[in-house]
């Protein structure tokens, strides 16, 4: 790989990282508004408020960057970066077209998992270092939730890796067949639910429950650092949606000519992202004990059952 190619790949990944979360964010503004019988942003940019998030970004840049006096200065200031950068790494690994990914490594499935698990540390660092009781409780709830929902995600992905016989996202997508839609369905459901929980999105937003914890671990953040946390949440939606689209919905497999494969991947990913937004509007927040109950009594057994089913299928040569 030449230096030019490496630079181009890095720039492409960064561009995707900056554009796709904005698209999802704007979609959330408008789709959520229409689901609730509102219009959503209408003025910024002229046409149906398309520039609202750009305007928000400009606003965040102008705000004062405050570090509370009692806070642990370094950890507090580092936390947004720890939350954000791993999702950039994860997004760079997702294949969008046969042979096209910003970074193509043999063990990309495990690398995506490892990267997102590092990203979770950002919330915990923010929660502890803010020296604020709301932040601390938010961080505690986030830690409890992340530990419980990490397991179903790993098990569901292990089932797909077993079915495709590889740890590479590109190879797994290549070996996808429509049969997987049925065969891997329980694992797919488990992954989608656990991914929403891992991102701490409603209905699993106990860690940032605004009615009781202000903004959870992010309470003390202002300006650009707060915006980075928001960006990492939307980048997380993009990563999880694209993962779901490539592994369970077949990525670039589709009826149109093969050259349009990347369009299929993005389209499927966007539909999954819309589903994540829809879930937010449709369900009320789960209580902490309901949340843990769902993970340990439903998702983990279901994922283990899926793993067993996949193992039997692979041995029998389905």
């Amino acid at each position: 790989m030449t230096l030019l190619e490496a630079t181009l790949r890095a720039v492409a990944a960064l561009a995707a990282f900056l554009v796709l979360p904005l698209l999802v964010g704007q979609a959330e503004h408008k789709v959520m508004a229409h689901m609730q019988g509102r219009l959503g942003p209408m003025y910024a940019g002229g046409f149906h408020g398309w520039a609202q998030l750009v305007a928000d970004g400009v606003k965040f840049v102008q705000k004062e960057d405050i570090t509370p006096r009692a806070a642990d200065r370094w950890v507090f200031r580092l936390a947004p970066a720890v939350a954000l950068v791993p999702y950039l790494v994860a997004l760079a690994l997702v294949p969008v077209h046969p042979g096209v990914a910003a970074v193509d490594v043999p063990g990309s499935l495990v690398l995506v998992l490892a990267a997102t698990s590092v990203g979770a540390l950002g919330t915990l660092m923010a929660g502890w270092s803010s020296a604020n009781k709301y932040s601390l409780i938010g961080g505690l709830r986030a830690a409890a939730q992340l530990v419980s929902y990490e397991l179903p995600i790993v098990l569901a992905l292990a089932s797909v890796a077993l079915a495709g016989g590889s740890l590479s996202l590109a190879v797994l997508t290549e070996r996808w067949s429509p049969l997987w839609l049925l065969w891997q369905l329980p694992g797919a459901v488990v992954f989608l639910v656990a991914a929403v929980a891992e991102l701490q999105r409603p209905p699993f937003d106990m860690p940032v429950a605004d009615a009781e914890l202000v903004m959870g671990a992010w309470t003390e953040y202002t300006g650009l650092r707060f915006a980075f946390f928001l960006l990492s949440e939307y980048a997380g939606i993009v990563v999880m949606s694209l993962l779901f689209a490539t592994l369970w919905l077949g990525g670039w497999h589709g009826p149109l000519p093969d050259a349009l494969g990347w369009l299929w991947t993005l389209l499927k990913g966007f539909v999954v992202a819309l589903l994540v937004i829809w879930v937010r509007v449709a369900w009320p927040r789960l209580r902490e004990d309901q949340l843990q109950r769902l993970a340990w009594l439903w998702l983990v057994p279901l994922a283990l059952g899926q793993l067993l089913l996949t193992g039997v299928g692979v041995v029998l040569g389905w």
Binding site: V75, G107, V110, A114, V118, L121, W128, S129, L140
Partner: protein
């Protein structure tokens, strides 16, 4: 010095520095975060040497689950912002721990340094090889370890739940 040597040295230095800061800092939460740095350094070294799966699983399990649990436990207890003087080890204990650490490092160095010939070689370890070793050669130790962990888990539950009858007697 090849690029491989440089990458290996960099991750090695990262691991050693992270480990040193983890044991010397007076801030408990900082110690957990330095542990993350040390683990990432070790994972980087493994990655350079070609053990891809082991490196990534190390990050996934230790950073993603173990350190998260450590931070959870620290946040549950009183983990102060700033140096923790209540749990400061005395001078004798610190010296003893330092000597023990030096002795372990020396033992490892005398065993391992003669094996190295100064160059970093990449041995591509495939996932199939790791799985074959883990579930073939080493399957009994592996299963024994999981039994040990299960016993620890059951023990922790028993301790945490306490004696129901006693609880009932003392409840108002």
């Amino acid at each position: 010095m090849t690029a491989l040597d440089t990458a290996f040295t960099a991750s090695g230095v990262l691991a050693v520095l992270g480990g040193l800061f983890a044991v010397t800092t007076r801030h408990v939460v900082h110690a957990a975060l330095w542990l993350v740095v040390a683990l990432l350094g070790v994972a980087g070294s493994l990655l350079v040497l070609g053990a891809e799966l082991v490196a990534l699983v190390l990050v996934l399990v230790y950073v993603g689950a173990v350190v998260v649990l450590v931070l959870f436990a620290l946040m549950l207890t009183r983990a102060p912002i700033g140096p923790d003087v209540a749990h400061a080890a005395g001078r004798w204990r610190a010296t003893g721990a330092g000597l023990l650490g030096l002795a372990t490092a020396g033992l490892l160095a005398t065993a391992l340094v003669p094996l190295a010939d100064g160059t970093v070689e990449r041995a591509d370890v495939t996932t199939t090889q790791v799985a074959g070793q883990l579930f073939g050669t080493w399957v009994w130790p592996f299963e024994l370890l999981s039994l040990l962990l299960l016993a620890a888990l059951v023990g922790a539950l028993a301790v945490a739940r306490g004696d129901r009858a006693v609880d009932g007697a003392t409840a108002p």
